[in-house]
Structures are given as C-alpha cells and as structure tokens.
Symmetry: C2
Subunit: 393 residues, 2 copies
Amino acid sequence: MATGGTINLGVIGLGRGLMLALPALIAYPAIRLVAAADPRPVARERFAAEFGARAYADWAELLADPAIDAVYIAAPHQFHAEQAVAAARAGKHVLVEKPMALSLDDCRAMAGAAQQAGTVLVTGPSHSFDAPVRHAAALIASGAVGAPRLITALNYTDFLFRPRRPEELDSAQGGGVVLSQAAHQIDIARLLAGSPLRSVRAVTGDWDAARPSEGAYAALLDFANGCAATLTYSGYARFDSDALQGGTGEFGQPKDPAAHATARRRIAALSPGEEIAAKLARAYGGASPALPPAPVANEQFGLVLISCERADLRLMPDGVWTYADDGARFTPLPPPPAAQYGAIAAFAEACRGGPLPPQAGSWGIDTVKACLALSRSAHERREIRIEPEAPSA
Amino acid sequence: MATGGTINLGVIGLGRGLMLALPALIAYPAIRLVAAADPRPVARERFAAEFGARAYADWAELLADPAIDAVYIAAPHQFHAEQAVAAARAGKHVLVEKPMALSLDDCRAMAGAAQQAGTVLVTGPSHSFDAPVRHAAALIASGAVGAPRLITALNYTDFLFRPRRPEELDSAQGGGVVLSQAAHQIDIARLLAGSPLRSVRAVTGDWDAARPSEGAYAALLDFANGCAATLTYSGYARFDSDALQGGTGEFGQPKDPAAHATARRRIAALSPGEEIAAKLARAYGGASPALPPAPVANEQFGLVLISCERADLRLMPDGVWTYADDGARFTPLPPPPAAQYGAIAAFAEACRGGPLPPQAGSWGIDTVKACLALSRSAHERREIRIEPEAPSA
C-alpha cells in the first residue's frame, strides 16, 4: 500500500473482539473494511452486505486476496499464531488481539515472520492504548514528574460471568483471566514503567466450582529500572471497581451499577449450550449484537495510580490527575470518537508509514512471558525471574 | 488488680502517641489515669494537674509504684523493649505502641517476660482494632463468606511530612514508613487472613532527598493457608487515598481535603530545630496539643478489599460492604466514643480478666518479623521466606 494511503483491511474472526473494535474501524477515516473470514455463514453474509465486502469461510483465502493490505486477527486465541505468521508471509500488516498467542514459541514465530516480511505487527487493542495511559506515559517520558517508581492497578469486573466458550474457562487452553485480562494490566504497567520486567511474584484464585478457571490474581512486578507494580484483578462479579472510576465502564460508557451484580445470575440460568448461543448472539451477525455504546469518556481498566519521584498520577476515564508538590491539577482528555480508537489509529498510522507504537513487534512476546510467569509463580508459590528475550537472528 | 475492677494505668511517654489515645483512655469507664513518666517537666506538671496523678521523670520509678496495675508504653520505638520487660517483671500489664520493638530479639524478650510474669501484653493501638476490620474478621470466622483469598490494602498519606524527630526519618533506627505504617497494614492483613505468614516480596521507595527514609512500599504477602495480600503505601503527601474513603480521615474525623497537600510546604518552611519544636508543641503539655477530633466514623487506614471464596468485603469508615452472589449489602458500624477506643477496650478487658485479643502476647513478634522481611526483600530484590517462630521454652 502507498504511504499515507487508505488501508484495505480484512478481519479474521467476526466475534466479540470485532464487535468491540467495529465502531473504531468504521470511524477511522483511512480504513476500509474490504473482507472478512468467519466459519458462520450468517456473519459472512451480514458483513458482505453491510460493507460491500468479500467474505470467506477460510481465512487462508482472505490472506490470498492481493487487494488486502492488513488484517485484524480477532479469532480465538489458539488461532492467532498460525494466522499471523501466514498473514506476514502474505505481506499483510497484522493487528492481533491480545494475548498475542498462547506460547512463547508461537509469539516468537509471529514476531519473526513480521520482521522477515517487513510488515507491521501490533498486539492490541489493549488498555495500554487508552488516552489516559498514553498521556501519563508521555508525561513521564517528558521528565516532568521524575522516574516512575510504584504503579498500582486494581480492577474488579464480571469477566468470569460473561457468556463464554468452554476453552475460555480452561486455564490449560489460555482461558481464565491471566492471559485475557492480566495482559491489559501488564501492558499498562510496562508502558508506564518503561523498562524490562525483571521478576514476577503472584497468586491466582480459582474460587467458583461452576466456573473452574483462574478468575482472580494479584502480582508484584519488579522492573529492571527499580520501578515496581502491584496488579490486582478479580473477575468474580462481586465488588465493582468502576465505582472508583466515576461509574464509567471499561469502554468509556455510562454504566448501570446494577448490571454488574446480575451477571452471575444471568449465566447461572443458562445451560452450557445456551451459554454458547448467548455468546454467538452477541457476536457480529448474531441476534442481539453487542456493539459498545458511544463513549462519553475514555476507556479505562480500573484504578491506576503511578507514584513518580516528584508526583503521583491517577488515571481517570475523563483525564489524568497529577498530584505534585505544588498541588493537584487535572488534565481533561476528551472521549475518543469510538472505543478502541486509540489502538486502531496507532495500528493504522504504522501501516501508513508512520511511527510504530511501543506495542509493535516483539512487545507482545514480553507480555505473554509475564502472563506465563504470573501463572507459574502462583502455582510454584515463588518469585519467577524473567529472562531477557534473546535478540532475534 | 481484681477481676473486673478498675485499672490504675500509668503512661510512659507523653508524646504524640498518647495524644491520639487520650480521649479513649479518658472515655473508657474502667481506666483511671494515675501516673505518667516523661522527661519534660511541663508535660508532667500538666498531667499531674489534669488527672490528679503522680508524675515521674524516670519511668523506672513509675514501674516501682505498687498502685499501678498496667502501663501504656507510648515512648519512642527504641525504648519499648527495655520498658516493657521491666514492666512485666514489676507485674504490670503492658499496652505497647506498634512497632512492638526494633529487633526480633527485643520482641521475644518482651513476650517472654510477660509470659513468665503472667501479665497481659498487647501491641497497639493499631488499625487492626478498627471496628470495620474486626467486623470483617468475625464475618470471615463465622464461615458466612468462605475462606479469605485475596486482600488488597492501599493507603496514600502525608506521613513523611508530619513533624518528626530525626530518628523517625532514619530507617536504620526504625524510622520511615515500614515499621510505623506497614505494621498497621500487616496487622490488618494478618487478622483477616487468619494464618501464619509464609513469605514477603516487597519494594520500598525513598524519593525525597530532603527526607531521606523509606517513604513508600508495595508488598505481596503469601500466607500459609493460601490467602495473599497486596499492600501499597505512600507517605509522600501527593495522592490522598482518603478520597476513596468518603473523605474521612485516619481517626474517623471529617477531613479537609486541602490540608493533605499543604503538609509538605508546612514542613519545608521549618528548620530542623523548628520541626522538633513543632512536634513537641503538638505533644501532651505542648503549646498546641493535637487531640484527635471527636470521630464521626470509625478509624480507617485506606482502601481495604477482601475477596473471600463467596463474597468480596470492602471496609469503609462507617461500616462494611458485603458483595455476595445475591447482591450487595451494607452493615453500618457506629462511630466509637473516641478514636482508638477499640484497642483501649480490648486491652482493658484483657487486664480485667476478659479474653485476650489476637494482638496479645507474641503477635507483635510476627508483625515486626514481617516488617523486617519487607525491608529486606526490597533491599535484596527477592522473596523472603518467613520462618515460623520457635515455641518459647
């Protein structure tokens, strides 16, 4: 594709991931949705009709389409590696949903294929693309608040009680909250700390016999530069930390506080078959597709506090608080045109010859490495040292 | 003293610690303040006049007074051990301010002396005596919410910018936030977890050249029963976590949000000599003694969330939220008659033959052990295993 030109984008996987990104993909001026691949005929037919696009049952056929510049891989985790490697080999830029893949070997193959092909590879959207996170990272990089020393991230959600496929609740297949949700907090912490991760000590929780999977965790991350982060997460739909975020939901939407507590009951009323049906109903082409509502604020992933040498920062959906020695000030940050717009824009600009975001290339390897270390630390009840990634040949 | 009788109490150290406890000591019906020891004549004269009490320059003379049943040791940390051992040998019950002492050997000597004498030894007041903490511990012990799995405690204060003596900012002499403030969070976590501590991984922060000491920390505590706790603390007077607690201060008082940010400027304007004078002015008998205001709510020590197997609990100054599978409910807890009343009452009832609180006997040893492990983990950048305390001979 031409530098600065329009990106002809193909989507692999018309599921929940696409639904969340779709408003941003539509809103971003330089993206044209030209193709999709999905095993469900109803989703393909709907996509072809809505966007005047080509629709394939087999993603390999989509990758063979020479008109496509880039692909957004929003298929289930277990397919990411094969699809991303094939896409790079076909010369396509790749935006791959987090987690990048389920094993480090797979992640390395993906990064290596993109490097060899000279294509863009970005892992996202993740909440490290949220405007308040990027504003704080830029403030830290400017030197205005001193080095980051201590990051606290805390999020209590209903993750475990959203409609799921069986593998999404099987930790052995990458299910549970570690790869799906710790990836967000780890990305945020890595971006803010600005330093390689040195070690992880963590615990995980598996407290619901009806949803046996890792549903909660706490972790202490030690970065090479001496910055540290504590991450706490529970997906058990009890306390709702959005109450600490001005009542704004994950996608910057106004949130009904009562909905959180009912997630468990809604799921408990469904048989396994009904739960899969409920998930498909919310996907693209489903009976009740769940587009994210128009944002009234930025996306957010719970309480995030960053103590720097000369100020504390607190990320809020509508801006960033700076608590400095001369007082507190608030920098308002307007809502994006659509949820996930920041990640989509960063990927698109990289495809168009602009700068690569930090979340490009081998970034995702280190986040998956941190997620795997988090699980291992919890299982072995000890600190896990992170070995630096060897430079690729 | 007779079981159930009045406790004739002597106070060692008429400083800031006493000021915080004084309203509760006055309010508790079965306590009579009969003596005090302090090197400052002005404080002794004032105490003698206010309470019709005896006042000693030398604490050993106070301990020789046969009319005294119990002593409250509120002298600086470095004197706790010698005073507590001597008090036990003199047959006096002891309430000793946290931290119990500065070394494990000192703590063991104190617990051993009390055990040998058959006297009560309680370490406190600490925030583990706050009514919301005790309510949550009782709820957990009742089995109603399942086993505690994950505790999150977070507190951002102006600790480092309150008037200090030099040794209070010297980590080598037990200064900084670890022994003084982590002791609170560790006590809270230990009481809620209900299990011996197995290991600590922590980082500490020393970010202000004008106040070189440990001013912040984050720690992950792993308990033997599999419960874990993340503790985060900053005393750098930037973000104020009381904003998450309904704007209520540490002592259950309504709080002026602007006061927090000015702490640093007030201290920066003082010479070292003026700072010591400012500290003494706030002590008992000083020019502007700082009694805690009458509480409108319970004491609190920042955000505390407890994820149990069947519910999340959130401690608030005015009660406890329970987020269970059938919805959220709030248990209001009325304010105490005075700040620190819970700890004073627990100590007094133990002296009068009632049950010992968990914070009695060797309790303080394990909290100091955890504090020292926290510092050591930060310095050595590795997890520190906690060796169980050998049973005393």
